[in-house]
Amino acid sequence: MSSELSVLFRRRRTWALLLALAAIPILVAVAVRLSSSRSAPGEGPSFLDRITQNGLFVGIAALVVSVPLFLPMTVGVVAGDTIAGEASLGTLRYLLLRPAGRVRLLVVKYLAAGAFCLAAALTVVLAGAIVGASLFPVGPVTLLSGDTISVGESVLRSLLVAGYAGISLLGLSAIGLFISTLTEVPVGAMAATIVLSVVSQILDSLTQLGWLHPWLFSHYWLGFADLLRQPIAWGPFVSNMLLQAGYIAVFGALAYARFVTKDVLS
């Protein structure tokens, strides 16, 4: 496992992904800063206008911006690469000849992808907090419910939100892992995973398909707003956990069924 993490995080590509994510809050902050004189409070996306009042909101606002596309993209790259990447390098056969154990390899690969999900969400929130603190005033935060919390607690809340966003991506990671066992072309697995994340969000926006919405892995992606109320509304948090766990179980089982019988011919 530590070896898997070290391979993942020693890769220049992984750092490029995280850096790209870190750039999002910076862009958001700079853009808002440059235009802040012209936009009156109350205009613009709900989180963006709060940034000018309190820099601590930059991380959250950046998360809102990244959740629909940028985060799923980076997760798709990492999760789609898990097995297919090793297969295309040919290292898959040498791992299996060790023997690494097919089930063990699958579990380790998934855990590493999960670690990346959390790292990705944390990157956005932390980079946002840092750039926000340097460009805007920082002070006690007014929550969506109107209550005010201290700077210290708001940092805790930010971490909680990052955790929520990271967990939200675990289902997508499991799908990526499964797709990755189907092919030896990592780019294909990455693209398919990313496309699925977009499809899921489109389906989620079609009101005619209301019955389907609670089952879509992206349904609770933006649900972290409820963690910014006083008291915290845990409902979506729990539903999200259950939903993601369901996706992990289903696609984990599919990946297992596929991978333990697969001929490794690359």
């Binding site: 070896s3 070290s6 020693r10 290292t91 040498y94 000849l97 690494a100 001929d263």
Partner: protein, 338 residues
Amino acid sequence: MSSDAPSAEPAIETRGLTKRFGHQAAVDHIDLAVPRGAVFGFLGPNGSGKTTTIRVMLGLAAATAGRVQVLGREMPRHLADVLPRVGALVEGPAFYPFLSGAANLHRLDSADRHASSTTRGARVEEALERVGLTHAAGKKVHAYSLGMKQRLGIANALLSPRELLVLDEPTNGLDPQGTREVRNLVRSLAAGGTTVFVSSHLLAEVEQMCTHAAVMSAGRLVAQGTLDELRQVGLAHVRVRTPDVAVARRVLVRMGLEPDEPVRDERAADEQAPDERPAADQRDVLVSAPMPDGAPEPEAIVEALVAGGVRVRGFGVEHPSLEERFVALTGEGFDVAR
């Protein structure tokens, strides 16, 4: 882990092993028996099914039919017991290009739950030294040449002491110096008691380092045994070099032999300048005949030839070379089998 009588049973044994890709049988009912302690050459042209056999043997791919035992245990059922005792290079080396040579070996070694992490550093260093890569240990693999990758692949197979080494075309991409080193490495490993199973499409390579060999052709196993056994297969031939073809053939027939079609000894003719060449009836021709059991002794044949007035300019009894056997078994030329 090892069974009761480990040295008695073969290191590798297959029974009716078959692997199909769609309708094509890449490996077709092969019965291999690799004795312990042997250096076993697995010989065959490109596409004859060597790598596929190795993949199935090591549990990377499932057999369509048949059984495999490696180190006395059924594969792939006992894969977890068997593979830690096997070092392998399959279908060329493969590494993470963004890691250094040493980091790659660390990574692959740590995938083995049973490999000790305390000795890992020392084992990596030693393996790199054995293949002469110590100076390039810290270099990223994407900067390695093909031959260096091949060496690193062999180092990976040598990371722990192994009972069986499976090397698929280990000298691919190596310079003559590297080829020689691999040969010496295989010999020293075999001397230490390791069974080595080495596939190759080059007969010379097998001839130089192996004690045993098996020959694959289009998915089938067409011969197997010790090198001497393989040489013995096929009858010895008596060869007479003489200009008196017709007489020589008549003498041989009279002695109960069946001469082959005559072959002009071009070598003899080419050595002379055109204007000095003897007339057609003066040129040397090789007359040969197979020597079945119960054929006359060679000295009796010479005597009869000389007595019959044949000018005997050369005489010998030879077994066909391994090369002739190989060509006879697998067909000539550069055509890929399928």
